[in-house]
Symmetry: C2
Subunit: 427 residues, 2 copies
């Protein structure tokens, strides 16, 4: 039980890196001593604290390629390519361990990274890449042993969850909340990947790969984002007993993998519907533990830095991944979104005249779609000639719904393109 000295090199000191330095400074353990041998950061900054007095400072992370004096490379630069990719692969080739928060890289190069780990008997840890404040990787790798995971779903992006929550609570449209969120630091200046579902798809790809040993890639997940969600839909959904959340869903169904990313209606009673603001929430369904549910802050320097520190310390304690499982990654067929069999929320904007409902119903009949509920909203304001009709459906095939909507959108009483949002029945 003698003390272990571990040398780490940190690449990238942004928000998370700054948080990590603070956590390392405060970390007290007589078992593990963390020695930061090098820091690579483009911006010159003051590094303070006795614990950094012998630390080398590199302006360019590439200098780490010819640097060897570390046990663990901590990569906090981000991005699926560029210098982040170079230094991570370089470190693994040098048989060094790596800790990263880089979801894009891990999602895209899962197979290559795993095979390099296995070949070189070193370890890549990436707790911080998925849901910063939730130790979901640890739970899957170290806790749910012998449990067969059936499905994982959840809110994986704090920014979009914040926007959806705030739209409803402050009665404002998407764009106005996005601007507020950017001012408050909850959304980046370019929030595209958070909002269009790319970030969620990357995290989902990692969870799917891990849970099902799936030789997967984020690129193959077709994601929809929250930019099409209107305040009116959030409100109608609420009146029907639902909340709208951007979900990532991965599951095994008859030896085929489903990986879906889209905003959807969820019963207000469901675990995930309760997760608001910048929080992330993840449900893991397994054979022996049935349902496990984890909630934590999904963004911010400190929750993510907590994940990074946890990986560093656990690696230093000699904890190894169950590497051998990666020697035989499986190939599964994917269930495409067109194969989805599920229900829908539909909002039609039509002329306010007779024949509308029967026109819609006729197309539904053609494609085996049956209605579950219908609601005609009374019009207020300027649009007195428009009618808003909201229909929820029973389960149907996605491809049938898309064909029906295409036809319906061409009918002469339709004023605006029909809004469709999927409904998920997770409890």
């Amino acid at each position: 039980m003698s003390s272990v000295n571990v040398k780490i090199a940190i690449a990238g000191i942004g928000t998370v890196g700054g948080g990590l330095l603070e956590l390392i400074r405060k970390y007290k353990s007589s078992d593990i001593k963390i020695n930061v041998t090098a820091v690579a950061s483009r911006r010159k900054q003051k590094f303070h604290g006795q614990f950094l007095k012998n630390t080398l400072f590199f302006k360019d992370a590439k200098e780490l390629l010819s640097f060897d004096d570390y046990d663990i490379l901590v990569e906090l630069i981000g991005g699926e390519g560029g210098v982040a990719k170079k230094i991570v692969f370089d470190a693994l080739k040098k048989k060094k361990n790596v800790v990263t928060a880089n979801k894009a890289l891990v999602a895209k190069f899962w197979k290559e990274l795993k095979s390099l780990e296995y070949k070189n008997k070193c370890v890549l840890k990436y707790e911080a890449a998925v849901a910063g404040g939730i130790p979901i990787i640890k739970v899957i790798e170290e806790f749910l042993l012998s449990n067969k995971i059936k499905r994982i779903y959840g809110i994986l992006n704090g920014t979009s969850n914040y926007i959806l929550s705030k739209m409803l609570s402050s009665n404002k449209e998407f764009k106005s909340i996005l601007i507020d969120a950017q001012k408050l630091g909850y959304a980046e200046s370019d929030p595209t990947f958070d909002i269009d579902g790319t970030d969620t798809a990357q995290k989902l790809s990692i969870l799917s790969s891990l849970a099902f040993s799936f030789n997967n890639s984020a690129n193959s997940i077709k994601n929809e984002g929250i930019d099409k969600i209107k305040l009116v839909d959030l409100k109608i959904a609420e009146s029907l007993g639902y909340k709208i959340k951007l979900l990532g869903i991965t599951e095994i169904d008859k030896k085929r993998i489903k990986n879906y990313v889209y905003p959807c209606l969820l019963s207000k009673d469901s675990f995930v519907a309760e997760v608001d603001d910048v929080y992330n929430g993840i449900v893991v369904e397994s054979d022996y533990c049935k349902k496990s549910f984890f909630v934590g802050e999904g963004a911010g320097a400190y929750p993510t830095a907590t994940s990074v520190l946890s990986d560093i310390v656990n690696l230093s304690k000699g904890k190894e991944n169950n590497l051998s499982i990666y020697s035989q990654l499986k190939k599964y067929d994917s269930v495409t979104l067109e194969d989805r069999y599920g229900s829908f929320y539909l909002r039609f904007t039509t002329d306010d005249r007779s024949g509308v409902i029967s026109g819609i119903a006729e197309q539904f009949k053609k494609y085996n779609i049956s209605m579950k509920s219908m609601l005609q909203k009374e019009q207020t304001g300027n649009y007195t000639n428009n009618a808003t009709i909201v229909i929820t459906t029973h389960n149907c095939f996605e491809r049938d719904m898309m064909k029906a909507l295409k036809r319906i959108n061409n009918l002469n009483f339709i004023r605006e393109k029909t809004v469709y949002i999927r409904i998920e029945k997770f409890k």
Copy 2:
């Protein structure tokens, strides 16, 4: 990355032990081979599977005292004394590692067990002792590093949560649901410790000891159970926007420790209020991660067995606890329940006549208690001469409330002893 062979001896094959054997049989890893060298079980049973063909069978767990051919003792007998205590202490004295699900033992002998671990450089793991399906010990020990925990609270007992949930959903009183629960296997034949809060207090004691390095003992926690909760209180609470849950709460407040176990009203919007049936739910509040929330099944063979297997495998991978922190357990003063400053739900059963409210209000004034809301229920059925008055209060000191209630209960218009349930404001 060569394969590790680990030898385990299992004491006690009841529900959890049976589940564990199944999980071990299914556990596949080329890194860790689990070899069950001995099983002690009072009841003779069929052990099947190739993996048990070389296993010794003891009828009396005491035989393990003179048995040495194991790396890890897995103690699943339970109870704070007797043979369970003997074999656990014996194993640690032999410098063997121990995995246990025994909350009573760990809660009561925390200090002794920790000092023995530290002295003998061996490890006791007890994930299964607190909230079977939630890896809460792992989260605190391995994830929230550098985070200072401020407060942990949650639903720690599946049986009592099941009873409270079912009373409301099936509109039945406590006793009737308890009988159903026993038939369904959700409550033991002697459910005293589950219902009176003892089980929650033991688990809370462990969490408190771990989170605050507190030299604590379950015995010092004054617990209240759910047997006094009536259906009418669940219903009124619901109409006021609350749910009633049996909580364990541990927190540091000005260097003093609060350890409370009681049923209380919680806003329906709070994380924990959403946790129903046999599920457990735990919130950890820390400085850097703010709020983390974990939900999982609180009872049953498999979630608990999952925790035990997780401990076995993690120990086998050479993962050590941060033992040194236990060399200096801290002593804190405790905040007693009498010191509690909080609000109350009160249900008075009185004569249906004038002067009642003013009589109650007079006593409140004397003890600096101020009302937040008042509700007089219309009487139906046989009790037409009784009035039911429900009052919620602003924060006040527990000792003042107890004095006021003592006086109020002696007033001549009071027909039944006044029901009080605390209100907690966790979000």
